[in-house]
Amino acid sequence: MKLEQARRIQTPLTAGVCHSLKAGDWVLLSGRVYTARDQAHRRMADAIDQGKRLPFSLQGELIYYTGPTPARPGRVIGSAGPTTSSRMDQYLEKILGLGVLATIGKGERSKEAREVFQKFNALYLTAIGGAGAYLSERIKKSRVRLWPDLGPEAVYELEVEDFPVLVAYDLSGNDYFERCRDKYRKGVE
């Protein structure tokens, strides 16, 4: 398969689109995506615990786990590849509770996190770790929305175009990582 033939999806997502995507599908995302990683998650979780509301709604939105490098003059953003998702597992239930329909990161997550995705009918999408320069070319706009003091860990609102991700966990509870490992493993472990 060629990546250019992957299904093109507009964000924010709808429940219908989420249902139609299956583990192992490549998707090219276009539209709005919010970034958040460790420190922003911590602050969001603290805000939720204190009964505070975030200044904007995350209903139907996607959260991309990334902390970009500073933009060179004339560029929208610096390198901006995915960070390890499992570090955000402990905040997942609270974040999906805000109506977030998908998160983008890299790598396997805990079994508990996988169950949280199912509970909230949300998708886990994986991007290719390390490909920060390549992925930055697919980001067309970028502005800080929350906590500029966090620098690369601030919440950015991005507009992406044909941003390639693979569906890792779908709504039926299928786990692409598990499936592919079973398929290519050869009698070890």
Partner: protein
């Protein structure tokens, strides 16, 4: 013996350039191994991951963008010849080079206090391992270590009875637990022997060797080959998306240790195996 002087200014500039080059361009040997994997990968998803990776390397080099946004911790393996005299603090000069590279190369500030999270603002301090050697040169080898792979690295004190089989099992378990999170296809630095910290330093030194190179020690070279083969049977594949290229190189170093210990460190490095060397 005549002492040879070295100027701080010259060292700072060379270190800055080394760090910038490492963040924007991979060594030819790393690229060669990635291209070979892309040609031979059997998993369609893994192949797409490798195509994206190779495209990333091209874009980064062309546009002077960091290959990965995690411009990491900079680890310096320094060998100072006894014939070189320095009239400045070596670590301080290395950190100055790092500071200037961070500024000039628009690198991410990724270094912070472990408890307060207060960012140091300039990626300092780098990690410096200094060895005093013979000769009249200063050799600096750099490793750029992102957290994705470093976080999945492990040290374990095995028993001597566990031996080579125990070492293999530990490496396989470490890579398996890391899965797609450490950004495969990986390079694996393996440190065997010494004590708790020595084995970890050996693993770093192993990673600093030419990518994919074999140990000169026959027994170690055999172990490297065997581990590489077994790791690539795990099925994790490029980007964790399945396939036969989970690892591109296993590099091991050893040192004598206590008769009651078998210290082993597995230092994982992502496909973006950034590093380089300067000799002054």
């Amino acid at each position: 013996m005549n002492q040879r002087g070295l100027s701080r200014e010259k060292l700072v500039k060379a270190v800055k350039e080394l760090i910038l080059r490492a963040n924007f361009e991979l060594e030819p040997e790393v690229i060669r191994l990635l291209k070979k994997a892309e040609r031979e990968e059997i998993s369609p998803e893994g192949k797409i991951a490798l195509k994206i990776i190779l495209e990333d390397i091209r874009v980064a080099s062309e546009k002077k963008l960091p290959i990965c946004q995690d411009t990491g911790l900079s680890v310096f393996l320094a060998e100072l010849g006894r014939g070189v005299s320095l009239d400045f603090d070596l670590a301080d000069a290395l950190n100055q080079g790092l500071r200037e590279a961070t500024q000039e190369g628009y690198l991410r500030r990724s270094v912070a206090d472990p408890l307060t999270h207060k960012n140091t603002g300039d990626n300092t301090p780098g990690i410096v391992h200094l060895n005093l050697v013979s000769g009249n040169r200063l050799r600096i080898r750099l490793l750029v270590k992102g957290a994705g792979s470093e976080n999945k690295s492990r040290v374990r004190m095995l028993t001597p009875a566990e031996g080579k089989e125990g070492i293999k099992k530990f490496v396989l378990e470490t890579v398996s637990r890391a899965g797609g999170q450490a950004c495969p296809p990986l390079f694996i630095g393996l440190g065997i022997g010494g004590d708790l910290e020595m084995c970890a330093i050996l693993a770093k030194q192993a990673l600093a060797r030419k990518a994919g190179s074999r140990s000169k020690d026959r027994e170690l070279a055999r172990l490297e080959r065997e581990i590489l083969k077994e790791v690539n049977r795990l099925g994790i594949g490029p980007g964790g998306l399945g396939g036969k290229f989970t690892c591109l190189g296993v590099q091991a170093e050893k040192s004598a240790g206590h008769i009651a210990s078998l210290a082993v460190a597995v230092n994982l490095q992502c496909w973006a195996h950034r590093g380089g060397e300067i000799v002054l």
